[in-house]
């Protein structure tokens, strides 16, 4: 999908990808890609929908902090600008964080790295450990204590 079809310009899409890489970097120790991984960033952009306006606002703030194209800054400058933006508690920045995290933590590789099977909860469900109801024994010895009325 072309970024423009989703409401982001090519420049915004490039900035978003670079920013995502600073937000959640790849980490071989955990066997995980960064949030700037092509499949993840494509998922972010394809599912922006009602969050597009806020994400564009956050990216505009990023460009302003960068004094131009964020994607073209050198690594040290870009990281400093990214962290300044992310330290803001403004709603557009929180929305941007949410959409990146939403796509990141449903990526198969990331989900597997957490020891879980990727996919929708239904119809697989989960098996719960058996309950040890003897934990209730001390409570069962109590007299009723609700107030009679």
């Amino acid at each position: 999908m072309h970024p423009d079809d989703t409401g982001l310009t090519a420049t915004e899409a490039r900035d978003l990808r670079r920013l995502a890489g600073f937000m959640i970097p790849a980490d071989p120790a955990f066997g995980v890609p960064g949030a700037d991984d092509p499949a993840i960033i494509q998922d972010v952009i394809a599912t922006l929908r009602r969050d597009t306006a806020d994400v564009k606002l956050a990216l505009a703030a990023l460009a302003e902090l960068a004094g131009g194209s964020f994607a073209d800054l050198d690594d040290a400058a870009a990281e400093a600008v990214a962290m300044r933006l992310l330290a803001e508690n403004a709603k557009p920045v929180l929305v941007l964080g949410r959409v990146v995290l939403s796509a990141y933590y449903r990526d198969d590789r990331v989900v597997r790295s957490l020891g879980r099977e990727p996919g929708a909860p239904f119809p697989r469900g989960h098996v719960m450990p058996p309950t040890d109801w003897s934990l209730l024994d001390p409570v069962k010895t109590r007299e009723p204590f609700w107030r009679k009325a």
Partner: protein, 535 residues
């Protein structure tokens, strides 16, 4: 042009928890019963748990706040001037589509707060008036739980409780260490096959619709039975106002269909079941020369005494792995601090409600917003310390009525049909604030007893339980209440209200079990009085 329909005997507005109960219970009278609902029938295949984006949807088209969810079938609510936010769902089943299904009842003492504690007002009915209807509702709705709880009156849930899991067991051990009461919660989830409903498979993420159909809701229990018994349910019909005739009786309603066409639906009896925000909104929108301040409002109490259940949450993280998003969200409750003990510095009390954790997206989003999970190189290690290690104790505080807490009509905001939207004004009383702090301190002790660290508290803003109560309260005195002890408006004798708005006090529990028992009780009272209903 207004489309006018044939007169029905009974018109119910709202197909949620209480509207469904009324439709089903009144069906055996063989009257012609119609329900108008602004939302749609929900399809389990549309629920988030079917897709990989299940957690993200909780923050978009399955948001709990109607203004942010903003479906065509929602109406906006202005709650800028409220410390608590509104949560609801509009569709067949109402809030029982989008709910957690925790199913405690009010306690006997909740109906007698004035006599026992000298606060607010007593209800005009008692727990014991509702007792048979609680039991009937538990059986029909399908409730899991365990008899024998010393913290509440006897009840007989028809199915065994939901599993404790690792999280529930961690809480239970801590509570035993502290010597405090706990018990498996009553939850309206099928823990075994029940009346054609499939058994829970621990999908987790129960609140925004159960794809398995194990979580109970009015759409999959009362509605199919009511429709089989001859009740008509029209969806995508949004009621603007209730009309009245020369005798001051309700004559029907004006509503808009999904294409925006205006309809007049005449009726002999009108029953409001639109919840504690939707119901006063319709009454306040139903003005006329005879009822300039809205219908059924001679007391001036329509919209007042709004109760929303302040619900602080205390969160912490333990070393060992917990359930995270696996299994029904709640597993146990504690009634240790429910009944009044004046030495605590406040009157009335609260239920402690113990939750499991969340899925990875929710943990990451909340952790990042709180600054607990940083951006950058430290992100992964911090995330792994949090995800699947979370414990959360909710404090369901009693909410007492105060007239300044209220629903009015917003002067500017409207829904997509141009109908004025509700505006909420709500503050916390000193008693509630003291109760909250007491609960937060106890919940903190519990988490410490589990060995949790990183304990934080979220006080009110984000924890909107969707309990909308009190805005048309019941009573014997027409100057101090909107409806009589069996739900009939004091002013308009063929107008009934059956949803959470008729509550007199809030209690410290989730309300739906009591809302439905009360609706069953009112339906029974109406059936016993059919010949003299308007006297």
């Amino acid at each position: 042009m207004t489309i006018t329909h044939d007169t029905v005997d009974v018109l119910i507005i709202g197909a949620g928890a209480s509207g469904a109960v009324m439709a089903w219970s009144l069906a055996d009278t063989r009257m012609r019963i119609l329900c108008l609902e602004q939302g749609d029938w929900m399809k389990p295949t549309d629920y988030p748990a079917n897709g990989r984006d299940w957690e993200a949807r909780r923050m978009t088209d399955w948001e709990i706040h109607p203004s942010r969810r903003a479906r065509e079938t929602d109406y906006p609510v202005n709650d800028d001037n409220s410390v608590m936010k509104v949560a609801n769902f509009c569709g067949v089943g109402g809030g029982t589509v989008f709910w957690t299904a925790h199913f405690p009842r009010l306690h006997p003492s909740d109906f007698r707060v004035k006599s026992l504690d000298g606060v607010a007002e007593d209800w005009p009915i008692s727990y014991w008036d509702l007792a048979p209807w609680f039991e009937q509702n538990d059986r029909f709705f399908g409730v899991a739980g365990l008899p024998g709880d010393p913290g509440v009156p006897d009840r007989n849930p028809p199915m065994p409780p939901v599993p404790l899991g690792r999280t529930g067991a961690a809480y239970a051990r801590a509570m035993n260490r502290l010597g405090w009461h706990w018990w498996p919660s009553d939850i309206a989830i099928a823990t075994e096959e029940y009346e054609g409903r499939a058994k829970c498979i621990n999908l987790g993420h129960c609140t925004p619709g159960c794809a398995q159909g194990a979580k109970s809701g009015a759409d999959i229990t009362y509605w199919p039975a009511a429709i089989r018994a001859g009740v008509e349910l029209r969806t995508r019909c949004r009621v603007r106002e209730i009309t009245t005739n020369d005798q001051g009786m309700a004559s029907g309603v004006i509503y808009y269909d999904f294409e925006g066409n205006e309809h007049f639906q005449p009726a002999e009896v009108v029953i409001l079941a639109c919840n504690g925000v939707g119901t006063p909104r319709i009454l306040l929108n139903s003005t006329s020369g005879r009822f300039p301040n809205g219908l059924a409002n001679s007391s001036g109490l329509v919209g007042r005494n709004l109760m929303l259940h302040p619900w602080p949450q205390v969160r912490g993280y333990v070393e060992e792995e917990m359930d995270a998003d696996r299994g029904p969200m709640t597993s146990i409750w504690s009634k240790q601090f429910y009944e009044t003990d004046p030495s605590r510095g406040f009157l009335r009390g609260y239920t402690l409600q113990f939750a499991r954790g969340t899925g990875p997206v929710t943990e990451a989003v909340q952790g990042a917003a709180a600054g607990a999970i940083p951006w950058g190189p430290g992100h992964h290690a911090a995330f792994r310390r949090h995800f699947a290690h979370r414990l959360v104790v909710g404090i369901a505080c009693d909410d007492l009525p105060e007239e300044h807490n209220r629903v009015t009509l917003d002067p500017v905001l409207t829904d997509s049909h141009g109908i004025p939207a509700p505006k909420i004004d709500y503050t916390l009383s000193a008693n509630t604030a003291a109760m909250m702090e007491h609960g937060i301190a106890r919940a903190t002790e519990i988490l410490e007893a589990t060995g949790a660290t990183g304990i934080t508290t979220s006080r009110t803003l984000l924890n909107s339980p969707g309990h909308l109560l009190g805005t048309c309260r019941m009573g014997t005195d027409p100057e101090r209440s909107v409806v009589n002890p069996w739900g009939r408006s004091h002013d308009v004798k063929n107008l009934f209200i059956v949803d959470g708005s008729i509550w007199v006090t809030g209690g410290g529990v989730n309300p739906t079990s009591t809302i439905q028992a009360l609706a069953l009780y009112i339906a029974d009272q109406m059936k016993q009085r059919l010949a003299t209903l308007f006297d």
